[in-house]
């Protein structure tokens, strides 16, 4: 080493440079922000909806069915979005429906994640027979049409809300399992996991402290998409008449029950459909925004 003194005195001036310009935090575009706003709005409705709704979801008016928007009935009041096929106030039912539809979808998705992620990560971490067994069962579930599985479950256990949640949860746990397993396998080969193992860490530490935190972000975005699928899935079940128990309002069956109205210009079916669309589209917008900010930047450099 030539003059060790020289560089000690310089080292103050020339300290190490950062590798790259500091990574900017994830920031949403206005589209993404719009999405967030709408989703938040609906989430609030899940909690306050029923309380601010002018009528009870099961209230059957004594006036007329398929009333147009902004119609008022004496003694009963104002129907912002008109009434449905048996004279219930659509606006109120949409507000109530937020709780049922989003509530159920959300719980179901949460369940799907609880099951799918824990099994998926477990399969990835443990490997061996556990992995093989789980994967085969998973294939089987995925290879069957989800509607049909739903039908089986509802026929077997009746279309109660728990059944719906369980069914949707189970079905979508399968696809979550896949993703979680893949993610897990990628992370398991990282050095820091190996380091933890050599340190003699327990399986649960490795799963919960090393693997999961690193799988969190991709799983979070996937959660959004999954949630959308579940909403649509439950709507489809409602379409086949297997959905939520009446008189509870859920957007899917609201669309279904009022479809006839469309034929002669009642929008009774359009409003709940819009509710579904705004919610699901918004979630997708957010997810898109997030994944956009993480990729494709090089593509813009093409000339």
């Amino acid at each position: 080493m030539t003059d060790a003194t020289a560089n000690t005195e310089e080292s103050t001036i020339y300290d190490e440079l950062p590798d790259a310009p500091p990574k900017k935090k994830l920031e949403l575009t206005w589209v993404g922000k719009l999405g967030v706003t709408v989703v938040v709005f609906w989430l609030i409705m899940v909690f306050v909806g029923p309380y601010i709704a002018p009528f009870h979801e099961a209230d059957i008016m004594a006036y007329d069915s398929y009333m147009p928007i902004f119609s008022t009935t004496e003694g009963e009041g104002f129907h912002l979005l008109g009434t449905d096929y048996i004279e219930r106030d659509i606006f109120s039912r949409i507000l109530w429906g937020a709780r049922t539809t989003i509530g159920i979808a959300f719980t179901a998705t949460l369940m799907a994640y609880a099951v799918g992620v824990s099994l998926g990560i477990a399969a990835a971490v443990a490997g061996g027979w556990l992995d093989i067994g789980l994967s085969r069962a998973n294939d089987a579930i995925i290879s069957l049409p989800s509607i049909m599985l739903g039908l089986l479950a509802v026929n077997a256990f009746g279309s109660s809300i728990p059944t719906l949640i369980m069914t949707a949860g189970a079905i979508y746990a399968a696809s979550v399992f896949r993703i979680a397993r893949a993610l897990g396998q990628d992370i398991m080969v990282m050095d820091f996991v190996e380091a933890a193992r050599v340190r003699g860490e327990t399986m649960q530490w490795i799963i919960f402290r090393e693997v999961l935190p690193n799988a969190a972000m991709p799983l979070a975005t996937d959660f959004g998409l999954r949630l959308v699928f579940v909403v649509l899935f439950i709507s489809s079940l409602s379409f086949l008449g297997l959905g939520i128990q009446p008189p509870m309002a859920d957007w899917g069956s609201m669309v279904r029950q009022n479809l006839e109205g469309l034929g002669y210009g009642s929008y009774a079916a359009v409003w709940p459909a819009l509710a579904i669309a705004t919610f699901t589209i918004s979630i997708n917008l957010i997810v898109d925004d997030i994944s956009a900010s993480s990729g494709g930047s090089l593509a813009k450099k093409m000339i």
Binding site: A6, L17, K23
Partner: protein, 627 residues
Amino acid sequence: MTELLEVKGLKIAAPQKDGSEIPIVKGVDFNVKAGEVVALIGESGSGKTTISLGSLGYTKPGLEFTGGSIKLHGNDILTMGNDDLRSLRGQKVAYLAQSAAATFNPAITIGEQVTESAVLHGVMTQEEATIRATELYHALELPDPELLGGRYPHQVSGGQLQRLMAAMALVGRPDLLVLDEPTTALDVTTQIEVLKAFKKVIQEEGSAAIYVTHDLAVVAQIADHIVVLYSGEVQEQGSVDQIINNPQHPYTKRLMAAAHAGPKPGMGDKLSGDHDKDIANVQVKDMTAGYGEIRDGKPAITVLRDINMSVKNGHVVGVIGESGCGKSTLARVIAGLLPAAQGNIILDGKTLEGSYKQRTKLELQKIQFVYQMADTALNPKQMIGEILGRPIEMFQGLTGKKKREKVAETLRMVELPVEFENRYPAELSGGQKQRVNLARSLAAEPEIMLCDEVTSALDSIVGSNVVKLLKRLRDLTGVSFMFITHDLSTVAAFADEIVVLYAGRIVEQGPVDEVLSPPFHPYTRLLISSVPEMKIGWLEETMKKREMAVGIARGVEITAVGCPFYNRCPIAIDGTCNIKTPPVHEPTPGHQISCHHSLEDILGFENAPQQVLHGFEKAAPDDAAIL
């Protein structure tokens, strides 16, 4: 000579969401004359790559040109329209990236990728391009040039890909080549062959070049003019001779200091005081290991064969060899990450279980493995405090305040500010991350640390700082090190003993000074000669040497019988070296060389006049061309 490229007041910055800018390049001026090689030198973050890309009118995503001009043949690249820019790229200016492995498209044949730009820009027809490419393969001394074009990137070695990059850049006869750290990722022996090839073709083609690197020694061999950069500003620029032989600017001086002269005996500073406690800390006995299912002591793929070595208390053992020689595997076996197929690992006289799973907590604590890549070794989702705290908690059983104190102490030991405990790895620079990486192992208070290439990913300055740190740690804690690297100089400066691994076998080992002075094992000799020295014209001299004639331009062959180095050895004896396992000579106690030649012969060859012993001259048909 006329100016080919003129860079004036070049400014490049990263615009932020809030409209502000983070300047990356802060007004840089330099020129490149036709046929001249200009080197941009600086650490990572100095903006050297950004500038070099600027000469193709390109900035990485997130950056943009904010001022100045880059004129090629007098017209400004920064104001060019897309079509001009497209024809500029690849046709007038060609780019060679650092990692060829990542830069070649895995799904397209080499031939197509090499000829692509030339054909697209209508410089030549596919046929012409293919012929031209084949010529270049020849010139670059690539194996079977005729077939190469039909291969896919994954089918050729890293060194070959690096040279293929050169072919890809040169095929369209560009006016300017931009080489971005083209040899940094390579082994010394590969690096020298690639360097040689580059220099040759650049001279033949007479094209100008911008050569981006942090390695002064390399620059000394290839550049005419040097531009020294620090954080986006030119510190000093001048001719190679001037910069190398009498640097003015303090920063340049510092760079020179960090860049080490070639490995010589006696440059390492020994452990303070004599090696009083010369008892083996870790011993490896008749160990054979590899991957795949183990059948009667033989793994499917054998990586290490009959390894015998030891690390004495408080010693630093440097394990050296080219990539693929099994040096990392050796560390992994000791750490219990890869159970050996045969032989034992002995810690403080006690034989260890093969797999870490069966080892006791204490044993795990005593042996700590330090990974090469801090980026993958540190959990990005844990704060430094947590990363360091965990081993302390587990091995010292400290918690709460005590634990935090210990964390702070550890941070201080690796010369990092205590505040770092609340930061995430992503918020640290490469060197800082590497220090944390070391600190984590240190926090376990081990007896031995197995450091796997901990400096090879770092710039010379940062790297040398880390080495200094390691020395201090050894003196401080008396922990022993197994220091794995392909960089002989670092070992020479730091280790007490050296183990030279080749193709999974130990060809030579012993105290640093003995190993670095004759008699050499032919492979050790090759390694030593391959380390670039900060001497103009060193490359040419070296290439004249005998071992170079056959040592380079040949792949490693893992063999079970005979001497592993046979096919690259200048003094190999047909019928012996390739059949019998070589005997072990012990010139001085503890210094072992395994070779079929007697020590006298080996010494003899050292001093013998340059003459090739047997039919390997075809190996490097046109060494002469370099001169």
